[in-house]
Amino acid sequence: MAGIVSYGAYIPYYRMPRSVINVAWGRGGGRGERAVAGYDEDSISMSVSAGIDCLKGTDPKTVDAVYMATTTPPYLERQNSNIVATALDFRRDVRNTDFGNSLRAGVNALQAAVEAVAAGSLNKVLVTVADMRLGAPAGEHEQSFGDGAAAFLVGNEGVAVEIEGSYTYSDDLSDYWRRDGDTFISQWEDRFGRDEGYNKIPVEVVKGVLGKLNLTPKDITKACIFGANARAQAGIARAMGFTPEQVQDPLLDSVGNTGTALALMLLVAALEDATPGERSLLVSWGNGCDAVVLKATGEIEKIKDRRAIKRHLAVKGTLDNYGKYMQWRGLVPTPSRGGMRVSMSAEWRERQLGLPLYGVKCLNCGTVQLYMSGSSMRAHICLECQAKDNFEPYRFADKTGKTVSFSHDFLGGGINPPMTRAVIDFEGGGRGLFDMVDRDPEECKVGLPVEMTFRKVPLGVGSSSYFWKCKPVRE
């Protein structure tokens, strides 16, 4: 039987208090904070981060596809999910697909994955859902939006959450839209979207799915309802027949409206607390509505070690500077110091080294090495025994390490100075020099434990690429 085998999530380290935005625009007040993706993060990197959380304990080579959903794909032409799959070290014969263009894309991807597994076409599908939508400066959405991601592994063995049924309205009622070339989200008069859309359609769809499954609102433990606004969300939950205790907190004061990822992040939060037999309801919104009823099995107890929502919420640093936010999002011009020049052909040639972060283990002497010259990561000769081309691939992305030394660069500090770098020794051997992110410079010292995180690398040739950085382990 097809269902959810594992879940994971990602919330960027940086949170910006809404009061910081208001101060920048000469206003007072501001409730809570919003998650802000780092200058080196985007929907691809956040999908990888959520995927890592979700795949804890799963051999990446056993996954058959990535279904990646986002309305903010870094590439309009180039399969974004392929980059996610390569970074996560999936096989080459995987069937990746990008989902997008609607806030329902996340739930669409999950449903498509469940159906592909149920049909026997694929055995394991990783669904990633990430968004980092831009609201116009000084506008409401700049404050209300947040960045984040969720991930689900869909399979037919060890199912922790069964999908009992779903119901969908597809409807071109477009309260929000963004055309090709638009930087910011546009919105029709909010009263239209609210009164004719959000307040009516999800209520009918939920009634539809409960009726179809012969359930009542009392059968649902947690309702995970997309909500751009807490009051409106509470209003439709009431109309659906749920008590406030049944409604999953919409994360709006701590993360913000994460677009297509929001309802699925709420589902992850609900599953973190779910016990076997409990039902959750997933409700999406955007050009229609999906409602999905899910039921936890006994397997749910085995996947409680995910960072998911709670642990990610707890690990944070404050971004108390609106100027930095504008710079990170590219909304103000930033002086260029010349980018690196990564060659598409050379990057492709070494796709099994850089993106999944592979070094080598010598089959002759057993030495583990992560070779990174100025131009290549492909090793031929073992430094210790001189054996030629006698290696097996050895992955470093999934290893933790300890800091051998570090530096804080104020001169070439980049977009979030100082730029911290660390030499790290990996558990099990191997060494590398990496940028360190999501760190407080004060906490950096010799011996600091770190883990790897997949990030965007700015380039000077109009493309963009990705590489791994390190960050402090915080658990």
């Binding site: 690196m340 040639r349 850089g354 070439g412």
Partner: protein, 392 residues
């Protein structure tokens, strides 16, 4: 394997003023240094049979031919990071020692101040598969500083003070040198309180980014004797190129630079130096950062491992000190660091010291002088050493 000792002589040298030479380009700088060298050696451009050019940013030897207008002589361009200049000198020495040429010009040059920014840009080159971001030199060498402090139990304050004393010494020496980029003495407090560049390295812990050129005329000793009395002789040349041993081996601890250790062993063996702490009179080292000078004192055997702080505290390496006088011309810190020129600039100072022509910086009774370069970054360097002595 043969030793290079006493097989090549320098009979003339020149060095441009180093600094921000806004009015001078690469060719102008080459003309400035080579003119002085020709005059010093008493030869003309047309007497030169071959030349070696050390430069990082110019792509061929043609720039030297074009600058000084030679007629179809062999000119080889050498690049080996910050050891470029010394490497050019080495290869030229080998050609002369082999008897292939009698009179050879060696020049080093770099025009860094046309890049539009106040730091080394590096990079460029061909697009590659490498998506790991490049790390600028201050951040690379700060890795060594933080680890050195940790390894030998120095607090941040103690470590900063040790480095500040190096800065003060080199600034003082630079203040005695009219060709230096920076000619102002500083205090320990200024060094310690200067703006941070790459923690823990402050402004005065980092060398200058300068334009400059230096040149030498070399020949075999029997010819040198016919040209002047105070020529100097090569005693040893060492070059150690890293294969990223330090970046790959997790037992490497960033408190020593083995490429320089190997290069110095080669040069000491050729020169017959048994106890460098006692035998070397003056030494120009690659103080791209103050921590590099500190570690180098241990790498080349002037101070025992972990003990350089004692020698620094005692003023051992100062002009008035009891040990080898280190960076008498102000070093990279104050003379400046035009990459390809630096190695030959160092030899220029050693040449002047051995001849007794170093003016206010002159050290007494100099018999043996040494130069040291490190190109690259902790983890993978090109290390170069040259040792020079007075004629018998």
């Amino acid at each position: 394997m043969q030793s290079i000792k006493d097989r090549v002589a320098i009979v003339g040298m020149g060095c441009s003023k180093f600094g921000e030479r806004w009015d001078m380009g690469t060719e102008d700088l080459l003309v400035e240094s080579t003119s002085e060298a020709f005059e010093d050696a008493g030869v003309k451009s047309e007497d030169i049979q071959a030349a070696w050019l050390g430069t990082q940013n110019q792509m061929s030897g043609q720039i030297l031919a074009q600058a000084i207008k030679t007629e179809y002589i062999p000119i080889t361009r050498i690049e080996n990071f910050c050891a470029t200049g010394t490497n050019a000198m080495m290869d030229a020495c080998f050609a002369v020692a082999a008897g292939i040429y009698d009179l050879v010009l060696v020049a080093g040059v770099e025009k860094l101040k046309d890049s539009g920014v106040g730091f080394l840009t590096g990079g460029g080159g061909q697009p590659s598969a490498q998506t790991a971001p490049g790390v600028p030199p201050p951040a690379q060498f700060a890795l060594a500083a933080n680890r050195y402090f940790y390894q030998y139990g120095l607090s941040y304050e103690e470590g900063k003070q040790m480095l500040a004393k190096i800065d003060v010494k080199n600034h003082y020496n630079g203040s005695l040198n009219p060709k230096a980029h920076f000619q102002r003495a500083i205090t320990e407090e200024q060094a310690i309180n200067a703006p941070m560049q790459a923690f823990p390295l402050g402004l005065y812990d980092c060398c200058g980014v300068s334009d400059g050129s230096a040149a030498a005329i070399i020949t075999r000793p029997e010819i040198a004797k016919t040209m002047r009395d105070d020529y100097i002789l090569v005693k040893g040349l060492g070059l150690g190129v890293g294969a990223q041993q330090g970046s790959l081996r997790d037992y490497y601890d960033f408190t020593h630079f083995d490429e320089a250790v190997y290069a110095s062993r080669m040069a000491y063996e050729q020169a017959g130096v048994k106890n460098p702490r006692e035998e070397i009179d003056v030494c120009e080292v690659h103080d791209c950062f103050s921590i590099t000078e500190a570690i180098t004192m241990e790498d080349v055997g002037f101070s025992p491992r972990g003990m350089v702080k004692n020698d620094i505290d005692n003023g051992f390496f100062e002009l008035s000190g009891d040990g080898p006088k280190v960076n008498t011309d102000g070093g990279l810190k104050c003379f400046g660091h035009p990459i390809g020129a630096s190695g030959i600039r160092m030899i220029y100072e050693v040449y002047k010291q051995l001849q007794g022509k170093a003016d206010k910086r002159q050290v007494k009774n100099v018999r043996l002088g040494m130069t040291h370069n490190l190109g690259g970054q902790p983890g993978s360097f090109t290390g170069a050493i040259s040792i020079w002595g007075t004629r018998d």
